[in-house]
Amino acid sequence: MMPLLLVLPALIMFIVSFIQSEKAKFLLPLTSFAILLPIVKLFMLPKPYALLGSYLVADRLDTYILLVSSLVGIGVTLALLTLDKHVKVSASAYRRFYRFFAIFWIGLSISILSNNMGLYWIGLELATLSTVYMIKTNHTKAAHKEAWNYMIVGAIAISLVLFGIILMYASAKPILGEDAMRFDLLLSHAKEIPSPFLFEMGFAIATVGMFVKMGFFPMNLWLANIERASFYPVAALFSGILESAVIIGFFRFSQIAMEINYTHLFGFVFAYTLLTIFIVSFLLFRAKDFMRLFSLSGVEHMALIALFWVSGGTFAALLHFGAHAFLKPALFLSTGVLESRGKYRIAGALRGYKGKKGQLFWILVSLFILAIISLPPSPMFFSELYGFGAMIETAKQSDHMLAMIGAILLLLMLLSVIFYRFVAIYQSMKYEGEEEEKRVYPSELFALVMFALCLAALLIPASLDYLRSIV
């Protein structure tokens, strides 16, 4: 019953998207809001909860990620209500967006809740393919080109993930048979895998595929260009939801790899994420528009999440993940208003907001911008403190304390470059440029308020306790 309830709102959304009536425009957001109800119900159930035999199993980790994703989905839906006030979007493109959003949601739910590597891949591929058409809802040549780019590069990345999964499956099949696809059994039998090298190789290849999909080295500008070419809500979906499905795969695979050879896993992920942050910090320094700025910042944060996770700072990684999942879509959605006087006009972007709605908008956006660079009381400030603490703890247990301190110092230096750039941009937005009147619509404001409340909820002791209890 529960699996049906989970996909029912998406199925209704898919069917309603074919109705060529004005009423559909109001029905579609309602179906999107309905997505939250079964997820809240699932959140309350005792864990682990078998949704579909051993194929779909809800545990504390995946229900948390699903809950965060559904809240982001609602925020995106709210912003979609007034998308036509900022950009030219046809009624049919709007309906098609929802049609593919429904497929995206089904793929995403399968991927997040799956306890099977193969099913995880199928869900991720389904979610990836459905986002291709969402990029094309923006009827420009650039969006068309980027949709193809996404299709091709995304296909290569996802193929690497499948390649890795096949090797991991092959490594464990002699002891587990067809059950070698199951995450839980792989984790409990990790030490018995007869060919650990084969598993590690599969893990490395799958991780490269997942990292490429999130815009890590060497594809740092890939995602930024795609998000620039698509509409703001699509970018919000990418950063707030799709990346969640990718990172949960990384969490699951790395938990098994940790059991096999922790040193190999840590060395590989540490070098990869450090290299990514090194490149991204300089790309961020040169970013000249909001979309690329926020997109590259997303890559930086996903790299930090991966780093904290493999360092043993699972609480830090999950807190950072939640904060990023709410902050980044909020910033992408506010870009629609910030860029209402032109794409590359950063100076004065936070000026010209009149009335209570306008004032609330600029205050919220200011808070989000300062929160994304981890200024207290942002949840990111705490997650980074805990994350760096976990890195030091890991180093204490090895003979590489000095190397770790050096790496953390390098990381802090790179983060300070990003910090400096964001502060400079914020000052330019607030204190430079001409004051031109800009309009904020209630639905957008409502979405931002919702994201701000979700961020505040992350810092409630009960939420922090829940996050600590996940792993």
């Binding site: 009827h139 296909a155 099949k173």
Partner: protein, 198 residues
Amino acid sequence: MGVDFLIGLFLATLIVALFTSRLYRLILWYSMNSLTLGILALLIGEELHDKAMLITGIVTILIKAIGIPYMLKSFSHRFHFVRQIQSEIKVQHAIILIPAILVFTFYLAEPITHMIHGNANYVAISISSLFLSLLLMMEHRNVAPKIIGFLSMENALFLLGITATEGMPMLVELGIFFDLLMAIVVMNLLFHKEEVTP
């Protein structure tokens, strides 16, 4: 013996596809590549008495060797694809590059082949097919050969699944087929001209 011959044929069809400069020929070679893969799945499935692999083999022939090439040809008619597809890599360079990839892959896959029982060399061939499919995507500027490169890559992964793991669970195999069909639907939508009406 039959499996060895078919694996060779699988690789050969992919290599010929790399030198093709006409779109319909490329589609034909993709179809042949898929047909070989389907028959291979049937033969290995028969050998292992694996019903799931037999079903997968039949579905491969129906969808990949017949259905997808037919759809690609109809897309070509409907959306007026450029049928002269010139490779960016010159033939004389490709003649050196392709064997180099094959030798490199056998060297790369050497540690893995020790860990896989049975068809160890086939794993190396499937990995080299993966690289050759990537080359097919890279050497053309037009979208259609890139799509065929992507589909060939999927074939190479399927071959890896058959040879390295003696077949993946049925549900996963069918899910991959479903995703492939979804990819074709999305490609069809991407080929459609931009809507003008606001």
